[in-house]
Amino acid sequence: MMLKVTLQQSSPIKLDVKFSCESGETLALVGPSGAGKSTVLRCIAGLSLVRHGQVLCKNETWFDSDARVNKTPQQRRVGMVFQNYALFPHLTVADNLKLALDKGIANSQYNIDKLLDQVNLTGLEQRYPAQLSGGQQQRVALARALARQPQVLLLDEPFSAVDKVTRRKLYLELNTLRRNLDMPVILVTHDLDEAAMLADSLCVIHHGKTLQHGSPEQVLYQPINSSVARQVDVRNILKGRIKSHNGELMLEWHHYVFSVSHLSGFAEGQYVVFALSPAKILLHQRVRPSRGVQENPVAGIIRDRVTLRGITTVLFSVALAEDTILQMDLPEHVAMRNQLNIGEMITVSLLADAIHVMAE
């Protein structure tokens, strides 16, 4: 185990966080603003103190409230990229890096060149931070964080201060870079897409508490409860009840009874929350019946449609479920070919595999 973090306190900021991260793994701490993500990062770096807990890195104890161990940020060997980058404004790019390099390193010029090359910044050594674009500043901050050869790399909302186009470019760069890093990388972000794209695992934090820790696939598509589902912006969160039908457990939703692939652990009569992934709702073609039409069929009326980057989101109301609005994502060409216009009737299948049932 490379980095192991347990933090607990009730004030001033409530924290109840536990996670671990292996070398070479990128863990994203996700959650809304004010959820305590940055505080967790600051506690790992030694910039904030928490009442109870432990921060273990490799075989070193950085913080242990019981053993009264609390190493200073200088002793902890962390590389931190701050939200506003916090570059030293009076120093050139090269000097910013030089300060973070170990004093003992003989060939510092070689190291600076190597670091700048790593973040694609060669040739800008003599610039001051104010003479750099937002994206370049972020790269310098990253290079400075790596200069110390840290045991943990901490990234605090590193993309929030750059425009969308630059952000996309930096995502790809960081994605390539992190594959070559052999330390745990902790990324704090409130952007789920960013987290899913860059991280190997996600840790959802809300009100200072770890709600779920798992792979992006697990957290985004199989949230353990409705709080996580809401935090990770799951659409189509609905309430239902488990029912026994011919000896088999099924899901009852208004007048519908759905068959569901995974219902182990739930009991008959239990009220549950379930999510339908909008991308996994199957549209029945009007002209010829498609595969799976018999699987949990539901009829509805199209209320609205929005297209963004080739994906059409169709909102339709289900008459037999008190006009509940459901969302369905389709490739744009499918929506066009099927002439999905507002007011029209459609039928869809809620595939048994795509219904994710959770505890309330």
Binding site: A45, G46, L47, T72, P73, Q74, R77, V78, G79, M80, F82, Q83, N84, A86, L87, F88, P89, H90, L99, A100, D102, Y128, A130, R144, A145, A147, R148
Partner: protein, 221 residues
């Protein structure tokens, strides 16, 4: 032209500046970084000389420096000479009198440094002392320079306090502003004019240096 008074004035201004550099920085740093209960009171005491009439401040300093007082007697026992009506007394009074001019600009410039910059330095492995010398001091430099220039000009022009505690001893406590006052009283207008022009020129040059320095810094960052 009273060159002796000129020498005393310059000497006093330089020594006051040099003393206030560490004292002011230490106080400013302490006030910016810590958040203790009596912070407001200490800030008020430091700022007091700014609003107090110089004669009032001079009076209290004179009382404090009296050989019968605790501080005055301590100084006598240590050095064998009296603090009041001496250059040392004048120097001490100038430090008190110019304290707000040193601490205030230093505090403002230290406050302007974002806490993340400091933390980034710690995370880069810099000790607190190295962070101070490599990061905070260079970033606060405009404020420190402003403080020094203000202290220098202010000490050079100080009159009320000097008159109260220094008297008018040639070569010891007689500063340029006292000499100007004397010349006017003695109807030596030519001499008063020369000395006034010298003080005006010094003030103008120092202030211009600060403004142009700060401007080039703003352009660079």
């Amino acid at each position: 032209m009273d060159w002796q008074a000129f020498e005393v004035s310059i000497m006093l201004a330089v020594l006051t500046c040099l003393s206030l550099l560490p004292i002011g920085l230490a106080l400013a740093y302490l006030l910016v970084k810590s958040n203790f209960m009596g912070r407001g009171v200490i800030e008020a005491i430091i700022t007091l000389p700014l609003v107090l009439p110089p004669t009032v401040l001079g009076y209290f300093l004179l009382v404090g420096m009296d050989n019968e007082s605790f501080f005055g007697s301590l100084f006598v026992s240590l050095t064998g000479q009296s603090l009041a009506f001496s250059f040392a007394g004048l120097w001490f009074a100038s430090i008190i009198y110019s304290l707000p001019f040193a601490v205030q600009p230093m505090m403002r410039s230290l406050e302007m440094i974002e806490p993340e910059i400091r933390e980034a330095a710690w995370c880069s492995g810099l000790s607190k002392w190295r962070t101070f010398f490599k990061i905070e001091l260079p970033l606060a430099w405009p404020g420190i320079l402003t403080a020094m220039v203000l202290c220098f000009s202010h000490t050079l022009g100080e009159f009320g306090v000097v008159l109260m505690i220094g008297g008018n001893i040639a070569g010891e406590t007689r500063t340029l502003s006292i000499a100007i006052y004397d010349s006017v009283l003695a109807f030596e207008h030519q001499q008063a004019q020369t000395m006034s022009i010298i003080l005006l020129a010094i003030a103008l040059i120092t202030i211009s240096v600060v403004y142009s320095f700060n401007r080039t810094r703003v352009l660079r960052f």
